[in-house]
Symmetry: none
């Protein structure tokens, strides 16, 4: 075993499958986000999770299936949290501001999610395409979004020609790209985009950018 001995070897005598699976998933998410599918090391995931390497195979089959499980869980977590915003109860403009803000903040605080998606796209979404759950999550999202836009249009606060999906992509893009490409952006512009203040400024910019488009 070539396991890095810097971290002392733990033994998983928990006999608590649910918890064991969770520990694996968490460790895997970190490793995959950090290194990508190809760069990630199964050994490293085992080490991080404090679980015997073979348990990964016992529970998840192989590296790619584990990766798929991580991705799916990540999508579910995001959309669950989003659902809890209860946007349908807010007035349209407020709902949009909350949604845009939430999206930005979520990506800011879950860089691993961003990194995972980046990597999955390098693999042409090969893994997530196997998931039906994920598709379901987004059809609901789409419906909700359409309703808000419609209500806004009817109330005269939103422009009338907004395609919900295009809009959703744009709104997400403004935050996503900032975080996903932060490293290259920081370098090419010689400006650090990782700080607290910068991020706050970006948030304002995004909110303003989106509102400018939406408002009638």
């Amino acid at each position: 075993m070539s396991q890095n001995k810097k971290i002392s070897k733990k033994v998983n005598s928990s006999r608590d499958p649910k918890n064991t699976k969770l520990k694996i998933l968490n460790a895997a998410r970190r490793e995959f986000a950090d290194k990508g599918l190809n760069g990630a090391r199964v050994d490293a995931i085992a080490l991080r999770s404090g679980v015997n390497k073979q348990l990964l195979y016992y529970y998840f089959g192989d590296k790619e299936k584990l990766y798929t499980a991580v991705l799916e869980a990540a999508y579910i977590k995001l959309r669950e949290k989003e659902k809890r915003l209860h946007l349908e109860k807010l007035d349209p403009m407020q709902a949009m501001e909350v949604l845009v803000g939430f999206t930005f903040d979520y990506l800011a605080e879950n860089r691993q999610f961003v990194a995972l998606l980046n990597d999955e796209n390098i693999h042409r979404a090969r893994h997530i395409k196997k998931s039906k759950v994920v598709r379901g999550l987004h059809s609901k999202l789409q419906v909700m979004l359409s309703q808000i836009l419609q209500r806004g249009a009817q109330e005269g606060v939103f422009r009338r020609d907004v395609d919900p999906v295009e809009f959703f992509i744009s709104m997400t893009a403004l935050g996503y790209f900032y975080f996903s490409n932060g490293h290259t952006l920081s370098h090419i512009f010689g400006r650090n985009f990782t700080g607290r203040a910068e991020r706050e400024a970006r948030r304002e910019h995004v909110l303003e950018f989106v509102s400018a488009y939406l408002r009638n």
Copy 2:
């Protein structure tokens, strides 16, 4: 021996170093864009370029240096082309429309560039950080952009509070994210984003999105 035989073996009897290097770079760009740094195979690059594997090492040192060379060349190519737009000669609003359209089209037609950037960001821009050329390219870009925005503001067609870098990021994000994350987006929304018509619609949306923000 175990080389993938799908790509038929070429022999490089050119004895033309410049051309040989170029063939390597082109093959490498395709391979890296396709598979990422970790997924790319030196053997595959050699095969694609029709050049003996050892020559890659002779000319570029190792895989990562080759990757860096590919990245740098990609940035240079984009900014060169951008420079040739001569935005400074156009009136502000027109200049912006040209720039936004150009950016969108460039990303659309150079998916490999998008893929490379995605991958490089997974590696925290480790490679491009070594490049000083790239930094230089963008400081010029920044200056030019500021001037246009200023002119536009003075002429009263643009709002006055636009941060050039934030704006540049936003403008790019709207196209970039659409292409970089096309695979996952297509799946989660059950909608194909790769077609010609879809792309044209997106282009319009982006132009409108940006103008809405800019205009006074």
Copy 3:
């Protein structure tokens, strides 16, 4: 978890040790015959037998001991059945014809036995050497065979110089090799040796081959 789901999981709620052991032995015989000692999987045996893997260890100690048990049982079964031919009650020529026919048929119908022996010989009979039962079985066989040959010689129907063991080996060989090496033979001769008609023809051939040698 990664168990082959083609075979549906059974649960062993029998609480009937004897029956459980038998189920294991049967499943093990199939698996070992199919894949050989090295190719066989303990998991597969457990699955096939519908018995928890741990029970294999409980009853048989380890994989090799289980293999040994299978082999021994196979030999016993053959010789038991052979004994029931009561060759000593037949006249010599008839006895031989019955024996040769029986041997051929038994091998034909018990390919697993043939496969097991093949595999055991690859392991230099390491396992069966531990069995004293098997040795005993064959000393009786040898005695019986000698008597028949002697009686035949005295009656003038058999040649007088027949070594019982050599003869036994030859008689067995003619059927055994046909079955044990059927796959390679079929290929190299471009002829299918697995069909009913082919087998019947072979049986005739073997009977004739042996008689030609025996008769005075």
Copy 4:
């Protein structure tokens, strides 16, 4: 590298591909004959051949392809040697005696060939079925055999009803089974079949067994 250090590490700086391939094939033949496909260790083959393990993959692709190459080479070697007997130049009875003797001796001296075939049959001839060369070798053999039998029948020294393939199988079986199953036979009969004298006796027995059948 977990290579067995009992044998000191050799370096293959020969740069003689033909020889290197041969060394690998020879070592592989020994290991596969010794342990079977599943029991054989790629590491052991590398060690035995004094060649870097990865060269096996460079030249042969993977373990199974190497196994296939070994099998094919073994068949070719046998049939080549057989051809050199020039049986067609001998009179029928002599030809058969030479053939039977040769076959017996070849198997006696090439136990590895016997072991390989045994193992290949456990795998249902999966590997050799890929070889067209082998098939070709045996169609020629069949023709030659038919001619001898025909000539013998015409000359009145052989019986007329001999099926060449059945006969070939029988003739081979008498020696093959003796060697392939020597270990179990030795044990069950409590008699050592590996000695020089025993083998000579067996050879005589086989020759007599076959002649008895053939002669008119």
